[in-house]
């Protein structure tokens, strides 16, 4: 009964989404206020229906209702309750429903938190969001109904959730990632609404900016969790594989990063308007493309749950409509919203433009590398794969190229600046960064030029910002400074850039200094790695709630002192019989020790063992957390809230409007 209620609620949700698409848009066209004011209510109704539907699916999973196909193939009565819950989105149908739910959440959030928006704009934005919801809810209902029943032959027990997905990281990774992915639909809807209305000014950027920042922050955290999960769960100690599915989430992030920065220029200076709109369309299109690649089964990955040509075709058509439609609209309307404000070559605008170009080129190179195998396959040219060396070779130089300018950007002025001023301001930070680059790598195992370069770039970014910070706090910037004067936007920028610097150092130090050793070990043996002695004590059988495992017990000594006991496992899950490696990690800010078990070798109880020493690997996740926090903090800025509805229209935007 409950699955049927869920199914019915989902259909009602789709119906409301259809109404939300049509009625407010018609109202905006005809200037019919009563039709337009229906939009927020419809958005809330849609959320309520899809939420009920999602709750019903959760109940089906928690109650082990194996008559529901998705539950039977992705859950098991032995599964711990928390994983039964996360199994809801550990499969194609459920994760699509989660996607729909999150889309409805964003739509409802826009309806709730936009008292400063003119009704005309609000109804257009919600109507576009409604259209996207129609696409996804009908995708869910037509091609991948989560409530389909297995009748009359109901299995006695389920197939179990893929053991790789039975992990705390997987409980929150997909929802966070989807919050980010889907969040770009808000920026997209604002862009489309602006194109429809033909009014694209600083106030538009001010409305759209907080949404973009939050979506970006969620996406950052989602990607970070995915990377962290891959690190400890896949059992080979890597943290980024340039796997197509990772790229699918990384491309919207790159485009979104460009969008954040270009929105800043549009809001502050009224420039780059058409460009910003294009980026908003681009970022959301990449989110959809990512969904297509992950959900259509064209890729080989843990994320590709099922192969079904109908699904792929549906998303492809949807993608074509969204991208084609929005680009057509852009072509028709964008010239009408272009700007005529000039800025000098040396100015903050130019630096932010450089950021945009770098991030866009990075997005395109990743896109090319990701699509290359698919295109070649489609053309019948053979099955290629593009490996990490390609991505590293194009991505790393691009980021390195950008970092020098990142150090200048915070102290730079809008409109016109001078190279002499930059030189005067940044001489001290430059020397300090150089000093760090020379000295800090001395603490590593041996002096490494790449690490020195990474430290140089990161320190340059940090010290440039510190200079600007001191400048503002000491009041020399002219405005009379104190800590209180710093806005949340500024703090967000500081955190985001600090996070980037931490990522750079973490990524390079880990890649350069990691020591990875695969070897055969028997109990009683020991192996020394980077000054850490790993003693293999014993192997013992252990039992978990739904698996049995061989547990290897290691003790780690440094200079004769026992610093850690690590117990990696080799698990065999009872329901599906699948085998999985559970790595053991001794984490630290400056180094991780990582042990994973391979397979038993020979008769004497020896095992293949993977020992890793990974310095500063946590810095990049910490950096990503900083970036995410930075994104969230910017939203607390007063200027996004305190504008009443009427004041928002003529206020700041007027002077930059056409």
């Amino acid at each position: 009964m409950i699955p049927e209620i869920g199914h019915f609620a989902l259909i009602l949700g789709l119906a409301l989404a259809l109404v939300l698409t049509v009625v407010p848009a018609w109202g905006a066209w005809q200037r019919n206020v009563s039709a337009m004011s229906l939009a927020p209510g419809l958005a809330m109704g849609m959320l309520a229906m899809v939420f009920i539907s999602f709750v019903c699916l959760c109940i089906a999973f928690l109650q082990d209702d194996f008559s529901v196909t998705v539950v039977a193939s992705n859950s098991n009565s032995l599964l711990p309750p928390i994983y039964k819950f996360s199994a809801v989105w550990g499969n194609h149908e459920g994760s699509l429903l989660l996607w729909g739910l999150i889309l409805c959440l964003w739509t409802a959030a826009v309806a709730l938190f936009s008292s400063q928006l003119p009704l005309l704009v609000l109804s257009r934005v919600l109507s576009v969001m409604g259209a996207i919801a129609v696409g996804f809810l009908s995708f869910s209902l037509l091609t991948s109904n989560p409530f389909a029943r297995l009748l009359p032959s109901v299995p006695a027990d389920g197939n179990d959730l893929n053991p790789l997905l039975q992990d705390p990281g997987l409980i929150i990774h997909p929802p966070l990632l989807y919050m980010g992915y889907v969040g770009f639909s808000v920026a997209f809807a604002f862009a489309i609404a602006a194109l429809l209305g033909g009014r694209l000014d600083a106030s538009w950027a001010r409305w759209s900016r907080p949404w973009t920042n939050v979506a970006w922050a969620f996406l950052t955290l989602g990607i970070m969790l995915g990377s962290w999960w891959a690190y400890y769960e896949l059992g080979w100690g890597g943290w980024w594989f340039w796997d197509p599915v990772e790229n699918a989430s990384f491309m919207p992030w790159l485009a979104g990063t460009a969008l954040l920065h270009s929105l800043a220029v549009t809001e502050k200076r009224g420039l780059f308007k058409s460009w910003t709109v294009l980026l908003a369309i681009f970022a959301f299109s990449l989110s959809l493309l990512g969904t297509f690649m992950v959900r259509s089964g064209v890729l080989t990955s843990v994320h590709a749950f099922a192969t079904d040509p109908a699904r792929g075709l549906f998303i492809l058509v949807f993608l074509a409509i969204v991208v084609g439609g929005s680009l057509t609209l852009y072509a028709l309307r964008a010239p009408a919203v272009s700007s005529r404000v000039s800025f000098s070559w040396l100015s903050r605008e130019s630096l932010l433009l450089l950021n945009n170009v770098v991030f866009l080129v990075a997005t395109l190179t990743v896109l090319f590398g990701t699509l290359f195998p698919l295109i070649m396959d489609a053309l019948g040219q053979g099955k290629y794969s593009v490996g990490p060396p390609y991505f590293n070779a194009v991505f790393v130089p691009l980021m390195a190229l950008m970092a020098p300018f990142m150090g200048i950007a915070p102290i730079s002025r809008w409109k016109r600046d001078s190279g002499q001023r930059w030189k005067a301001e940044l001489l001290v930070p430059g020397i300090a960064a150089l000093a760090c680059a020379v000295t800090l790598p001395l603490f590593g195992e041996q002096y490494n030029l790449w690490v020195a370069l990474a430290v140089l770039l990161a320190a340059w970014v940090v010290f440039g910002m510190a200079r600007d910070f001191w400048f503002r706090v000491s009041g020399r910037s002219g405005a009379g400074g104190s800590l209180k004067r710093l806005t949340p936007s500024y703090w967000g920028m500081v955190l985001g850039h600090l996070g980037f610097a931490a990522c750079v150092v973490g990524v390079v130090a880990t890649s350069q200094y990691s020591i990875e050793h695969d070897l055969k070990m028997s109990p009683g043996e020991s192996e020394t790695l980077a000054g850490y002695e790993f003693r293999f004590v014993e192997v013992a059988p252990v039992r978990g709630p739904n698996f049995v495992a061989d547990e290897a017990r290691f003790e780690v000594y440094r200079e004769g002192r026992n610093i850690a006991k690590l117990a990696p496992q080799k698990r065999r899950y009872l329901a599906g019989g699948s085998v999985m490696t559970e790595a053991a990690i001794d984490p630290g800010l400056f180094r991780d020790l990582y042990i994973a078990m391979g397979e038993p070798i020979g008769e004497q109880g020896a095992w293949a063992v993977r020992l890793h020493y990974k310095p500063m690997v946590r810095w990049m996740w910490l950096g990503a957390i900083f970036m995410g926090l930075g994104g969230f903090i910017t939203v607390m800025d007063k200027r996004y809230r305190s504008q009443p509805r009427r004041a928002a229209v003529p206020a700041k935007g007027a002077q930059y409007a056409r």
């Binding site: 190179t365 290359f372 490996g387």
Partner: protein, 149 residues
């Protein structure tokens, strides 16, 4: 020149220089960093290049996995039931690697027709078959158990 035009000129020049640098970088990076998939039948027919990175996929032949007793070296054979390719690998095999299961090995082919693998991929769960393997089997006309279709 009008300042706005001049600015635009600089912008266009910058974008042209920058994107050609990026394209150069991409083509450079693509060379040698992409590898092509070959079913065992094509490797046996001599269609696969020697000494270049390639991938070979199929089913792991039952009883073909031989492990060294004192190192992590392992030798096995991959088949699409028309031909088999011997593979040598040193390292830890993925959890789901097993005899009679699908696997993809990437590495370089040596003169004697042995694939020196640097990476071995198995499937992600027991119901899943790597698409390349499924495709290779479809070409050879056998199902995953080696029964002629």
């Amino acid at each position: 020149m009008h300042p706005v035009r001049k600015q635009r000129l600089y912008l266009v020049l910058f974008i042209v220089v920058f994107s050609s640098a990026a394209i150069g970088l991409v083509t450079y990076a693509l060379r040698g960093n992409i590898n092509l998939f070959f079913p065992p039948a094509e490797v046996a027919a001599g269609k696969a290049p020697v000494g270049q990175p390639i991938r070979v996929g199929g089913m792991v032949v039952d009883g073909s996995v031989q492990r060294s007793s004192d190192s992590l070296a392992v030798r096995f054979e991959i088949t699409d039931f028309e031909a088999t390719v011997p593979v040598i690998y040193e390292g830890i095999l993925p959890d789901l690697f097993d005899e009679g299961q699908g696997a993809v090995a990437s590495g370089e082919l040596s003169e004697d027709g042995v694939l020196q693998a640097t990476e071995v991929l198995a499937k992600h769960d027991e119901n899943y078959m790597p698409p390349e393997v499924a495709d290779a089997l479809e070409k050879s006309g056998y199902d995953h158990k080696g029964v002629k279709q």
